[in-house]
């Protein structure tokens, strides 16, 4: 019969590279009990340390796999977001051109307003002037609003067309 070898907490601590306290907790967790005056049975200690190392490695590889899955999911989300945004994007130059056209037409109407309205407000007091001018300039503003609404509708229609093309 081979002689049983015992190891003290301090010996295991030096060997395994963990604190004495950690050794005691680990042995208690694994159900390894110390024999008074001798220490822990070496065979039980080796089995406990082996199992602990195996568990740590399993945990580390599971964490690494989890990280990889998370990174893949984040990359997929970024790609999805980019694709969605691409479908909702319009060219700045195109927007600029149509808005500019609407503004130019509006400014022409604004410039023509004094000639048209000056005779209408002649010989009138401030209150009567406002009664003439407010609706006149409200109409002008509405003209610009209609033009910009048409711009907005055409942009939305373009997005819907693209969306339909993407789905088909």
């Amino acid at each position: 019969m081979s002689k049983q070898i015992f190891l003290t907490s301090a010996q295991i601590s030096r060997w395994a590279g963990v604190t004495v306290r950690r050794v005691q907790i680990l042995m208690a967790e694994r159900g390894v009990t110390a024999v008074k005056g001798q220490g822990y049975p070496a065979s039980d200690v080796i089995r406990a340390l082996y199992l602990r190392r195996h568990e740590l490695q399993t945990k580390a590889s599971a964490a690494a796999a989890g990280d990889a899955r998370l990174k893949n999911a984040q990359a997929d989300l970024r790609q999805l977001d980019l694709e969605q945004r691409r479908g909702q994007l319009v060219a700045i130059d195109a927007v600029d051109n149509v808005v500019r056209s609407a503004i130019v037409a509006h400014c022409a109407a604004l410039d023509a307003a004094p000639v048209r309205l000056s005779t209408e407000v002649a010989n009138k007091d401030a209150r009567e002037c406002l009664r003439v001018l407010r609706p006149a300039f409200r109409d002008l503003r509405q003209g610009l609003a209609d033009s910009l609404s048409a711009v907005a509708r055409s942009l939305e229609a373009e997005i819907r067309r693209r969306d339909r093309r993407g789905k088909s």
Binding site: R85, Q88, L89, I92, D96, S118
Partner: protein, 75 residues
């Protein structure tokens, strides 16, 4: 390229800003005009104001363009 929602928001802002400018302009014109003024004098006063409104609209448009550029997205 720019998200279409941003364009719509900026167009709405532009229109709202210009609406306020026109309201102020009308108030200024009405405050300056008197019953004694001739049509030509009124026309001159109104021209000054509409030109000013045009310049202010240009400023609004420039600000909108700058905002469009700021919100642009690489495609």
């Amino acid at each position: 390229m720019i998200p279409v929602d941003d364009v719509l928001e900026l167009l709405a802002d532009l229109l709202a800003g210009h609406g306020r400018l026109l309201d102020d302009m009308v108030d200024r014109i009405a405050a300056r005009i008197t019953p004694e003024m001739t049509a030509a004098e009124i026309e001159a006063e109104m021209k000054l104001e509409t030109q000013r409104a045009g310049v202010e609209l240009d400023d609004l448009l420039a600000a909108s363009r700058a905002e469009l550029a700021r919100r642009s997205v690489d495609d």
